[in-house]
């Protein structure tokens, strides 16, 4: 009654219909929005889930403990570091499995151990010559097929001729396991070893250090230059066609595909400047080209967000333009600038294509000592591992991706922390 007397339209049937329709449309839109977010989450879960599922095995590595008698008749202290260390290992395994008689058996027996075992033994003897003539306990990684077996990745039901390991080899390993010699500790080698062609001893050390140097170079170049450019453009440059032109170009530069920067680096840094290939220095310089526009844009946005009253107050008490910028505006804009820079660096950390072009996908079995030593970076290391035939590299590839994701999350969290801790609302 009230309705009909004051606003007759609202109560009418067509109006009620329209209202229902509007409400339905709004619900529909909300539903679409929510399902888009849900879909994104499901995709993310599938991605991380599949990485975890295939990668978690790489975080442990099967080891075997054997007692090796360092026979002075085989190892001559005079001739070190040369010596038949394989023979020592073979002898101690044969002592364990007397049934292995033929030369072929003995060779197969030795394949339980990683190929690096003989060199670990060598280094042990070199570090303490007194062990010659004694018996030492040596814990070494097992080779990849046995590692897969221990992790249940080799199906014992598969017919023998289609398996990487035959029944006898599996039997040997089971005996070792029953004897308590087999253990599967945390795979610290994944972080402390450089690359190797053997999955059981391959690690990310070279890639981590290479990425560190590349990011350091990238930061040292892009941060000062980017901030300088942004300050000039935002605070000092006259507004004219030319500065507009530069602005448009910087925005375009931020959208250029990264592989183009790689080609540029190949032609200019390596071709003209003659800088060495595959080095973090060149990698960092290339990534700096990519990061610089991001830093410039973030810095300009941060500078713009500082209210004019701060500038005016400083100018009013006689500060010069430079004093205003460096004494007041820049410090207040710093949290925003740092956030932008960190996000730019995180992007650079995950970048692969330009690094492939400058040869940072090289196989190197030692970690770089400085930015001028050839090395890989995390994403290119993933690229190399993904392409290796050994089974062990399948899980290691996923593990390396998880490590990279971990670093990206850490960097982004730092950016969020800085923003929430130091950013001021005006």
């Amino acid at each position: 009654m009230n309705n009909s007397s004051h606003s007759p339209v609202i109560g009418s049937a067509p109006a009620a219909l329209r209202l229902r329709q509007r409400k339905r449309n709004q619900l529909l839109l909300q539903g679409f929005g929510a399902s888009a977010i849900l879909l994104a989450f499901v995709m993310l879960l599938i991605l991380v889930g599949s990485l975890l599922y295939s990668g978690y095995r790489a975080f442990t590595q099967t080891h075997v403990e054997i007692s090796v008698h360092i026979d002075p008749e085989i190892i001559d202290a005079e001739k070190l570091p040369r010596g038949n260390f394989r023979r020592l290992l073979q002898n101690s395994l044969v002592a364990e499995f007397p049934d292995a008689g033929s030369a072929k058996d003995k060779k197969q027996l030795l394949q339980i151990l990683s190929a690096s075992a003989q060199f670990e033994l060598r280094d042990l003897i070199l570090s303490d010559l007194l062990v010659i003539g004694q018996t030492v306990q040596l814990r070494v990684p097992v080779s990849d097929p046995y590692d897969q077996l221990n992790k249940g990745q080799i199906d014992r039901e598969t017919p023998e001729q289609h398996r990487r390991l035959n029944d006898r080899q599996i039997d040997w390993f089971d005996q070792l396991r029953r004897g308590g010699a087999v253990s599967a500790p945390l795979n610290t080698a994944l972080f402390t070893n450089p690359d190797s062609r053997f999955p059981e001893i391959a690690g990310l050390k070279g890639a981590l250090i290479g990425s560190f140097w590349a990011l350091l170079v990238c930061f040292l170049l892009s941060f000062p230059v980017g901030i300088g450019a942004a300050i000039y453009l935002e605070e000092f440059a006259p507004r004219n066609r030319f500065s507009d032109f530069i602005e448009v170009n910087i925005n375009n530069l931020a959208a250029v595909p990264s592989v183009v920067f790689g080609l540029l680096a190949l032609a200019v840094f390596i071709g003209w400047f003659g800088l060495p290939r595959s080095t973090p220095l060149v990698g960092g310089m290339t990534l700096a080209l990519m990061t610089m526009p991001t830093v410039i844009i973030a810095t300009r946005a941060a500078l713009k967000s500082i209210p004019g009253s701060i500038r005016e107050a400083a100018l009013a008490i006689g500060a010069s333009k430079q004093q205003v910028v460096f004494g007041h505006v820049l410090p207040l804009a710093m949290p925003g600038i740092l956030t932008g820079t960190i996000i730019g660096l995180a992007q650079a950390l995950g970048e692969t294509a330009p690094l492939l072009l400058i040869g940072m996908n090289a196989f190197i079995t030692s970690a770089p000592a400085g930015p001028l030593d050839s090395s890989t970076a995390l994403p290119t290391q993933i690229f190399i591992w993904a392409d290796s035939p050994e089974r062990g590299f399948v899980s290691r590839t996923s593990a390396a991706i998880l490590v990279l994701l971990g670093f990206l999350i850490a960097m982004n969290s730092l950016a969020i922390f800085l923003r929430s801790r130091f950013e001021r609302k005006w």
Partner: protein, 377 residues
Amino acid sequence: MLLHDHHNGNILLVYFSRRRQSDIRVMENRMRNIIHFGALALTMFAIGGGTASARDQIRIVGSSTVFPYTQSVAEQFSWITGAPSPIVESTGTGGGMKLFCAGIGEQHPDLTGASRAMKASEYALCQANGVNDISEALFGYDGLSIAISRQSEFAWDLSLSDIFLALAAKVPVDGEWTDNPYALWSDVRPGLPDVRILAYGPPPTSGTRDAFVELAMHAGCIRLDWVRESGFDQDKSWVNENCSRMRQDGPYIEAGENDNLIVQRLRADMNAVGIFGYSFLFENLDTLQPVMVHGIEPDPETIADQSYPISRPLYFYTKNAHRGVIPYLQEFIEEYVSEEALAEDGYLAERGLVALPDAPRAELRETVISAGTMPVR
């Protein structure tokens, strides 16, 4: 260059100290200046280092097929000798030749791997850039395998012509050279199973693709009755032009350079076949089985005696002018051609290399160690 750095550094420090006397608020600015100075010094140090330091690591480029073998030798070599580990890059055969032939000097690589012999044009490029003295080493063979899931129960045995008819862009149908109409294997030849043709293989950028086209597609093409009757089988340029294209309408899928992905696809789809290097089949024999070609299964023996038709020689090329200049290069080459590496039970064979017979292997060792120059192309 280093002297230069110190020089500049002193000037900057003097500049800093003067400012300090005149200005009290210099503290914050100084931090900023140090960062700038650091960046400057780093850049200068880098440019100086790039041109001045002598290279003590061996640099190797080349084919992605040879890459795993070179990897093994490089790792073994640095374990044994304690020398700085070589830098091995996988650039593809063609890309490797380009880098290798670019010149003499430490900014150019010492060795390149190749999954085919050096072409005359590449040889000419080398000569033009002063790379005159090259050792060629054919050090083993690699089989290209066609594989299918073990779940497939059919005894797959294809002829090269079957492979061509199933995968080529254009095939002869009723006397006409036309777009490939075949959708099922049974269309290609009665007796093959009634399943959709689906093959995962290498993209055009890869050396494996080049080898597959040459060894399987071309060979299959010239065996076709229609081609032979038309007399095209003797015409190399006709074959190159017409038999090299893989079909684009779906049944042939370019699976990227990552062979592990192809292996996963084959496990998921029991009727799909995959084309990749023998080492990937060898690592996955528990879930994959080889497709026989002309009744012959790829294994080390059939690949080495070339009775398996899709096998190819592998090479590495050495720049002899770099021997004795780049430290340890000679020792590295000796390790590469050593019995431990190349023999039938050597560590390269464990990775899928098919070894040379004894006599050619001994000959190879002698030529390569004594830096024999390759014949003119």
